[in-house]
């Protein structure tokens, strides 16, 4: 142990102080008594979780008000607040306020609340899936969920399937096909020895291509001109269809899923350390993976059903949360959903105000933010791409 104790002294003082850690050879090459760079010795800096969470919650509340205040039909802020107050307290309004009230209370508020719910759900399941496949570069959609849901949604959009369900047809169909897709991935990836992370990712990716091909085939065989546009809008995600009807179901599922994951936070930590470690700490990795798979399927299925496939939130936000508060899941699962909600509220505001009255798909903005961030992360984590054991 002596050489370990002295090691900081051996490291040349100030040697390459600013150099990045580089590929993590150092972390895997064992019994290397000489430190690579001095800053590696420093304790990890972490943002305190409670103040951060309180700050995010406050920002989220404020953003919800902004989400209601901004829109293509200009209703000024004091009036928005008065209308909101009237809606919350059941106060009386003049007849000429009815149109504004309808816009604020029936269109913008459910939409903004749903954006927050969807953002929180995507971020929370992102955390779960990254622990599930033990790779910080995974997102909830690597398991084939979004492309699976797209098959169901497009069957409704293009061919009017499940017409008897009325306005719920797309949601129900997307939810059903998302679950079916995940079940298929699960069954295909399963072996006698349980689910291995790499098999899950590979199976999810392979089947995603299959589902996408099915969607493409449907788009081409549909006989109306708008088909491709409708399909694309749905794939990139939109909160345009939000009503008070969809908020309670979505919010309930997301909150229940989040509560479950929070209770499982300690076990998620163990799973993230590896299967052997997990088992030796009394957490059966296969059982936990099945559990996470089920929770993810329910939450993501619901989220996708109400908002389409909004990418990158489930990838970026968990990573961001880890950078701030570290890897411990009981902290990540507080920060990530709040940050996800906050992000999506603003992305939704941008999507409906930048080119108003036209509306851009939410997925465009998450991709604009997400792609560069993803590439940056990948460069930083060069060797982590194996993702296996």
């Amino acid at each position: 142990m002596d050489c370990e104790g002295k090691a900081p002294g051996h490291a040349p003082a100030g040697a390459r102080p600013g150099t990045p850690r580089g590929p993590r050879q150092g972390a895997t090459a064992v019994s290397d008594p000489v430190r690579r760079t001095p800053h590696v010795n420093d304790p990890v800096r972490r943002t305190p979780t409670v103040p951060l969470a309180l700050g995010l919650a406050a920002a989220l509340l404020l953003s919800l008000v902004c989400g209601v205040a901004f829109g293509s039909s200009g209703i000024e802020l004091p009036r928005v607040l008065r209308l909101l107050g009237a809606g919350l307290t059941g106060g009386r309004l003049d007849a000429d306020e009815a149109a504004g009230y309808a816009i604020v209370w029936e269109i913008r508020l459910p939409r903004t609340v749903l954006a927050a719910v969807v953002g929180a759900g995507l971020a929370a399941t992102g955390v779960a899936v990254q622990a599930l496949v033990r790779n910080a570069l995974a997102d909830p959609f690597v398991l084939g969920i979004s492309s699976g849901a797209a098959v169901g949604a497009n069957a409704v959009l293009l061919f009017g399937a499940f017409a008897s369900l009325g306005v719920w047809a797309i949601s129900v169909s997307a939810f059903g096909s998302a679950l079916a897709a995940m079940a298929l991935v699960y069954l295909a990836a399963r072996t006698a020895y349980g689910l291995t992370p790499l098999r899950l990712v590979l199976t999810g990716t392979a089947l995603s291509y299959g589902f996408s091909a099915a969607t493409t085939l449907m788009v081409f065989s549909a006989d109306h001109a708008e088909a491709a546009r409708d399909a694309m809008m749905w794939l990139l995600g939109s909160l345009g269809g939000a009503t008070w009807g969809s908020v309670p179901i979505a919010a309930g599922t997301v909150l229940a899923g989040l509560a479950h994951l929070t209770c499982a936070a300690g076990r998620l930590d163990a799973l993230a350390m590896g299967d052997e470690t997990s088992a030796s700490l009394g957490v059966d990795p296969d059982r936990l993976r099945r559990e996470l798979f089920t929770v993810t399927a329910a939450v993501i299925g619901t989220v996708v059903a109400v908002s389409g496939a909004i990418g990158f939130v489930g990838l970026l936000v968990p990573h961001l949360a880890r950078m701030l508060v570290g890897a411990a899941h009981r902290r990540v699962l507080v920060v990530a959903p709040l940050a996800g909600a906050l992000l999506l509220v603003w992305v939704d505001i941008a999507s409906r105000t930048l080119l108003a009255p036209a509306e851009l798909p939410v997925g465009v903005f998450t991709a604009v933010l997400g792609v560069p961030a993803f590439l940056l992360m990948m460069r930083r984590r060069g060797q982590a791409l194996g993702g296996g054991r």
């Binding site: 142990m1 002596d2 050489c3 370990e4 104790g5 090691a7 850690r21 993590r24 150092g26 972390a27 895997t28 090459a29 064992v30 019994s31 290397d32 008594p33 590696v40 010795n41 420093d42 304790p43 990890v44 622990a131 033990r134 790779n135 910080a136 006698a192 020895y193 929070t262 209770c263 936070a265 300690g266 076990r267 930590d269 163990a270 993230a272 350390m273 590896g274 299967d275 052997e276 470690t277 088992a279 030796s280 700490l281 009394g282 957490v283 059966d284 880890r322 570290g326 890897a327 411990a328 009981r330 982590a384 993702g387 054991r389």
Partner: protein
């Protein structure tokens, strides 16, 4: 770890007293199958409370497989693993983890936990319900880190540690599990000689019964009370190191020519190796 050891010690005394003449750890006729292949054939071994028992054998002889069966990653295809009379595979995973801790060969992690967080995971099987480690848990973790002389690492990222540091931290995690049995799978792998000796000394100091797989036969000779030799999934020999590590057996099992000598100062058994002629 003083408090922790006290708890483990008393529990051990009362529980073993109930089982007449039983060993602390007894593996009875355990067979393990993986992908249809039988890797371990009806192996039986035993360890008395507090003993350090070594498992040696060439690569692929089934050492790790047998150990994985003891710390419950694998279920035996036949036979039982009993600790203080209880069948480990009949317990829930969590209860078993309060009795058996393992130092596996798994050293990589994708997520950068701090050392303190990694050690605190050892309290997971003892914890009920959600929420983080209690103040008492934290105290145990600090004590365990102090015991492995890694207190100064608590705030560091686990992934940035050297191999020796990682091994000590994982050792601390195993200690806070307060196990009756500590399973070590090649604990000296990739460590320099000073760290090798340190880890084995820690294992003996730690208190609980230890079952360890070792490649280095001289370390096995010097640090184990009893050795079991595995060859092709079967026990080839068992007994105190001086009885087991005979040239004839080593030639047969490892395919090497071994010359036993005595350490000039301590008189301890040392082996010198050559290829077989």
């Amino acid at each position: 770890m003083t408090g922790a050891d006290g708890v483990t010690g008393t529990a051990g005394a009362t529980r073993t007293a109930g089982v007449a003449g039983a060993e602390e750890l007894s593996v009875d006729g355990v067979s393990v199958e993986l992908a249809g292949a039988r890797l371990v054939h009806e192996v039986s071994l035993a360890a008395a409370a507090g003993q350090v028992v070594g498992l040696i054998g060439p690569n692929g002889s089934g050492k790790s497989t047998l150990l994985r069966c003891v710390y419950r990653v694998l279920r035996p295809a036949g036979g039982t693993v009993r600790l203080a009379g209880d069948d480990l595979h009949a317990l829930t995973a969590r209860r078993a983890a309060t009795r058996v801790a393992a130092l596996t060969q798994e050293h990589t992690a994708e997520f950068d936990f701090t050392v303190a967080e990694v050690v605190a995971m050892g309290r997971l099987p003892h914890r009920r319900g959600p929420g983080g480690p209690s103040a008492e848990d934290r105290e145990r973790c600090t004590a365990a880190l102090r015991k492995v002389r890694a207190e100064h690492l608590a705030g560091r990222g686990f992934l940035n540690l050297s191999g020796g540091e990682k091994q000590r931290v994982l050792f601390a995690r195993a200690l806070v599990q307060e196990p009756r049995l500590l399973v070590l799978d090649e604990p000296t792998n990739h460590l320099d000689i000073a760290h090798q000796l340190e880890v084995l000394a820690l294992a003996r100091e730690a208190g609980p019964t230890v079952l360890t797989a070792l490649h280095d036969l001289n370390l096995a000779a010097g640090h184990c009370d009893r050795l079991y030799v595995l060859a092709a999934g079967r026990i080839a020999a068992a007994g105190p190191p001086a009885e087991v590590l005979r040239p004839a057996l080593l030639a047969e099992v490892f395919g090497v020519r071994a010359a036993p000598v005595r350490h000039p100062e301590t008189g301890a058994l040392q082996l010198l190796f050559d290829r077989l002629p």
